[in-house]
Amino acid sequence: MDVFLNLPVLVQVALKGLAVICVMFPIAGACSMAERKVSAWIQSRPGPNRTILPVFRWVPVVGPFLQKLGAFQLAADGLKFLFKEEIVPGQVNRLYFILAPVIAMIPALSTVTFVPFGASIDHAGRVFPLMLANVDVGLLAVFAVASLGIYSIILAGWASNSKYPFLGAMRASAQLVSYELSLTLSVLPVFLWINAPGTAGTMSLAKAVEFQSQAGFWGGAWFIITMPVSALVFIIALFAETNRQPFDMPESESDLVGGFHTEYGAFKWALFFVAEYSNMIVGSGVFVLLFLGGWNPIPWVSLATLAGWLGIAGHPVLVGAISILIFIGKILAMLFFFMWVRWTVPRFRYDQVMEIGWKKLLPLAIANLVVYAIGIALIQK
């Protein structure tokens, strides 16, 4: 740790960026495979289970297992995207066409740095979060940078200079702006509750987790228990913000061919998907941190308590590893939920998306905020 901190700042930054890329790309790839597998299972079919590297054919148990799981299909797909011919259609605006997938990667990868992915307990018994960029305005930073992701879709749709991508981009920009409001309003009660009068104001995600790991019935309750409406509005808005079904208007292949990425292929197309999955991962991470207790294993049992039970309270590295495992487990559960919903709820019509966003979700979020603001004012008086 000290060795790392003694490096020049630029080297540190470069290492952190490299770490993000090295972690997010494989995870996003694995997500695409998980998506195919989960959809196959839900549709009562086995999914990709043929591809295998010749070397693994002779590994007794592991080889067939990985083959059944489609692990090599993932590698094959990735390689295919890399080595395919990069086609740029003739009618496009080349600069923005090539720029759009690149822009998609910026918010997708940089929001990760604001999300604490675990915690550890130092020798003094204090819990400290593990994150790449510890800023006080954590959640605001995630929202702000994530909101830039819209430009990649708009530019992709506009630069493609063809009607379906254009319609997809139109829908995307209207939808993302509409649901951002509900998304932001739904988390306000959480921070109203955390920032009791007299304490230093914060928008830090780590603080939200800290708040859910206190002792006592109300202290240990996750926010999904105390603020179910907030959680509901947040998760619905999150589906819309990440363009997942039933809100995948920008893509909706049945009416828009492929939406904003119709004209894309090969690695540029893959970049859009890495961006989508990494937005999903970050969104799930924020939801877990805010409403599902972050790295606390179950409600009313905090990480520190668990460490006490396991007798590893004095080992910061062990506790950190366990907290990261718990957090990643919860994120994976959320990602599964995303895929599960995808094959359950049919896509909304575009006017329904707008109606849900503006006429249902936004009033609900505002009413929820007002009710909680009054309640919190009465309790914390």
Binding site: V38, W41, I42, S44, R45, P46, W340, V345
Partner: protein
Amino acid sequence: MAVVPLQRKPLTFAERTYLPQIAAGLWTTLRHLVKPAETLQYPEQRPAIPPGYRGAPTLVRDPNGREKCVSCQLCEFVCPPKAIRISPGAVPEGSGRDHVEKGPLAFDIDMLRCIYCGLCEEVCPEEAIFLQNQYSMSGVTRAEMVNHKDKLLEMGGTLPDRHFKWDRKKAAEEAGGAHH
């Protein structure tokens, strides 16, 4: 028929939030998630062929090992896409089956033209051509997709026969009967 207007029940509040329905849908998909796959792993697992299946047309032999086709060419005439081509010829003397007047010298079915309609099977007076279980044909050239007589007989194999028409005719002739 009288038109009966049905009054639609107004949706309850719970229904208008979609949430109970979504929960029910999630439960359904979850049950499908844990159910075993309904698909077959094709090249290794083959589907069970139901009786009466119309696969590729084949030529069959009777239990005595005689090829049943007498090259009457009815199938060739009835075949809608003209996939069958027969060259009739005499059955060679002394082959033990020369009581049958004719046999095909060549019998080709172009599987690129065949539409598996089964008319050849239906029209055959000798019960010599059958659409059997074979459903998977492949080849890399057009010539490869034409099944010749040997291939057809090999695919067809031997089917049980109830009549032994030609044997009975021969027996009747030998017994001196003009007509059996």
